[in-house]
Amino acid sequence: MGSIAIEIFGKKLRNPVMNASGTLGYGREIERLWSIKVLGAFVTKGLSILPCQGNPQPRIFDLGCGMLNSIGLQNIGIKRYLEEYTEFFLERKTPVVVNIFGFTEEEYIECALAIGDNPVVLAIEVNLSCPNVKTGGILFGKKPETVFRIIRGVKSATNFPVIAKLSQEVTDIVELAKAAFEAGADGLTLINTIPGVVLEENRVIRGGLSGPFLKSIALKAVYDCSKAVPIPIIGVGGIMNTEDVISFLRAGAKAVQIGTATFVYPNTIPKIVKELKKRRSFD
């Protein structure tokens, strides 16, 4: 079996497969089935400077070829998380990508500062698909200017590599990628969930789409951005199997993340890693 190790942000990873943020709990939960040591790197759930209770129920909708979630970024807060989990990742020698978000630009910077020089951290992934409370909830990641400001702010607050995680809505994602690059981003994660709506009898629920119906959109984002910026791209969106992973790598991704697939087939990640090893090369 060939090696499928990769080098990214100056570090060597066992393989190019990570989980997508928010889809593998805090890290311990899946270990009833497999060890997170299987992963090239573990990506945390979106973490904020203050704990966040998230949205009211219902939060999950099955749309047949994917789903919509309205979790609302529930988390216990970045400080508490790092206190409780650093040891867990150290023991497993698994590098961690810390996914952060804020409801103001300052909160992003506070998160970066809270990470300090934590020994398990590989990089900081900045979730820009978050509503800016100061502008009535417009997503930060919609405008190149705000992407630029937040990435530059986070860069100045940390020595860790900074990854901008973008989504695809109205703006041309290539413009956002360029803004992130110009602000000093060391990498991109493409793509986050895409905003959607579910109409219930008496209410409208907004949320993010994920799963197989995202794959082609995500592949386009990876392909176009990899031509436009010279930094590593982590591809994510609708990956269900090894073929999908190969497509992302061929489109220009250096690594991949697997999200929603794990909800349905909890062994997707170890299965893909095993199959990649058998194939030896990524072509």
Partner: protein
């Protein structure tokens, strides 16, 4: 928790909306605590996410669930025939905790009986069942429990007490005064709200099986979170820290 593959042995229609599905499984079935559930893959071409169902009965190499047709997924499930392969994930969650009370009062509303059937099967000491349903048709769900002398309420009065099961319970609860008893309940959310109102004066111990829509059933997605009175950690995942909760911990 493990991945359990099996074949449908039978999928019996109990009423036009209620079914009892039995799956024959190949591998050894892990130990199950009553109240635990499985995530069922219905048809991966049409339904994307698995659906949660309480373990209704567990045999040596069979697993049964009793379900009500509610939406797309359960509708499809009701049409699945004998012999079909089916994938289950479980057992999941935290079930009922028994603390050797003198008496357990088991309260089920409608399909909620599916949530307490295994519990009843495994009861050792004294217990009393209260079962509420819309009409006498709902008796088809408790045929196996008649020998336990359940107290029955129907909304339309076609059998037993006329009205909802919690009003019925409130008329009987004085019989239990002075007894060390606990209530174990499964039913819709409005049933729990009425239950809380009835029990509040004496703060009777009570565990309830709480349902929320689930994305994964394994604690990965936070789709099933419910708010509790716990000051430090208010949000609890139903699939991990539930589905059985202490009624007094939930913020209803």
């Amino acid at each position: 928790m493990k991945h359990i593959l099996g074949k449908i042995l039978e999928n019996i229609e109990l009423t036009e909306k209620h079914f009892l599905l039995t799956v024959k499984v190949k591998a050894k079935i892990p130990d199950v605590v009553p109240g635990q559930f499985v995530m069922v893959m219905i048809d991966d071409k049409k339904v994307f996410l698995r659906r949660p169902f309480t373990l209704y009965k567990v045999g040596e190499d069979t697993i049964s669930i009793m379900y009500k047709v509610r939406g797309f997924g359960t509708n499809l499930l009701s049409r699945m025939k004998k012999g079909r392969e089916i994938s289950l994930l479980g057992p999941l969650g935290r079930g009922f905790a028994l603390r050797n009370r003198d008496l357990y009062v088991i309260v089920a509303g409608g399909i909620g009986i599916a949530g307490v059937n295994l519990l009843i099967e495994r009861m050792k000491g004294r217990f009393q069942i209260f079962y509420g349903t819309s009409s006498s048709k709902g008796l088809a769900l408790i045929r196996n429990l008649i020998s336990h002398d359940p107290i029955i309420a129907t909304m339309d009065g076609s059998f037993g007490y006329k009205g909802d099961i919690i009003s019925c319970l409130s008329q009987h609860i004085h019989y239990f005064s002075g007894v060390d008893f606990e209530i174990l309940a499964c039913g819709p959310k409005d049933m729990y709200v009425s239950l809380k109102n009835v029990l509040v004066t004496y703060r009777v111990p009570c565990q309830v099986l709480w349902e929320e829509k689930m994305g994964c059933g394994m604690g990965l997605c936070f789709g099933c979170a419910v708010k509790t009175e716990n000051a430090e950690h208010p949000m609890k995942r139903v699939c991990l820290e539930g589905p059985v909760f202490d009624l007094w911990d939930l913020s209803l």
